[in-house]
Symmetry: C2
Subunit: 145 residues, 2 copies
Amino acid sequence: MTDGTLRIGEVAERAGVSCRTLRYYEELRLLAPSGHSAGGARRYTEEDVGRLLRIRELQEVMGFDLEEIGAILGAEDRLAELRSEWHGGARPERQEEILAEAVKINDRLRQQVREKRAKLDEVMADLEAKARRYRELARRSKTPG
Amino acid sequence: MTDGTLRIGEVAERAGVSCRTLRYYEELRLLAPSGHSAGGARRYTEEDVGRLLRIRELQEVMGFDLEEIGAILGAEDRLAELRSEWHGGARPERQEEILAEAVKINDRLRQQVREKRAKLDEVMADLEAKARRYRELARRSKTPG
DNA sequence: GCTCTATCTTACGTGCACGTCAACTTCTGG
DNA sequence: CCAGAAGTTGACGTGCACGTAAGATAGAGC
């Protein structure tokens, strides 16, 4: 604990989730701790916490299920892995393929965010229309004479 | 069917849900058909369809569960019911109370929509940063010399 | 060394939002 | 009038995302 790593309980509290949730995400291969203690306890880094927050964001804000999130993170992971061996230069065809996959997923995600924004604006317009009607009702109610 | 009412299957298809879903919403007192046929088949109006679409919107866009949605629609229903007997003038104290409730829920909803929008913007900024990095990678990959 | 809290694995339980099957009735086109 | 599609009420099943309890082990403080 004197080093920079975090135990599962600390990570869970930071992200507002339970320890069970972290173990479940690990089971689904969404988030593995960067290391373990000698006795086998999970040790998380700040980067791991960031990944967890990203998962939660995609889940709560975008409404994706964990399988979709796994696909999204998986594509980014493959690309990141590729980057580390990029100048080592494996197979350029495979590089193009993986980058194209990441770009495709990124495009699709941005489109979905735009759509969600549009729907959100619709909901907001609806609510504001209702708010105006409420104010009108309140005005009539307060000046009965 | 020569009149304006719709059967459950037509309503379900329009909203992209199943008949089971409609019966389930009725069980939860979220959406009751405006009428029934002589034999007991549910008959929905266009207004009912609108309410269904509203439910779906709150569910999918805002991520509310059906109990929350019931509370939201319930407050609006009570206010609408009150409006119809408004100039009949029941008890003005009760009127104020119900209007205040509707306004409170409306305020809270608008706040939640704003928060969701802010989070969506964060996600979008994240995605766009990634997209820029992808384009940079593609540029390097295509001009290896 | 000892205690007490945190974490470990394993496994069954839970709440929500429906899906699905059965047996029956109702509606609709010909 | 009648076949077939669509609708009805139960009632049990399902998938997801965890919750929870049990029993063992590990780690921090005194």
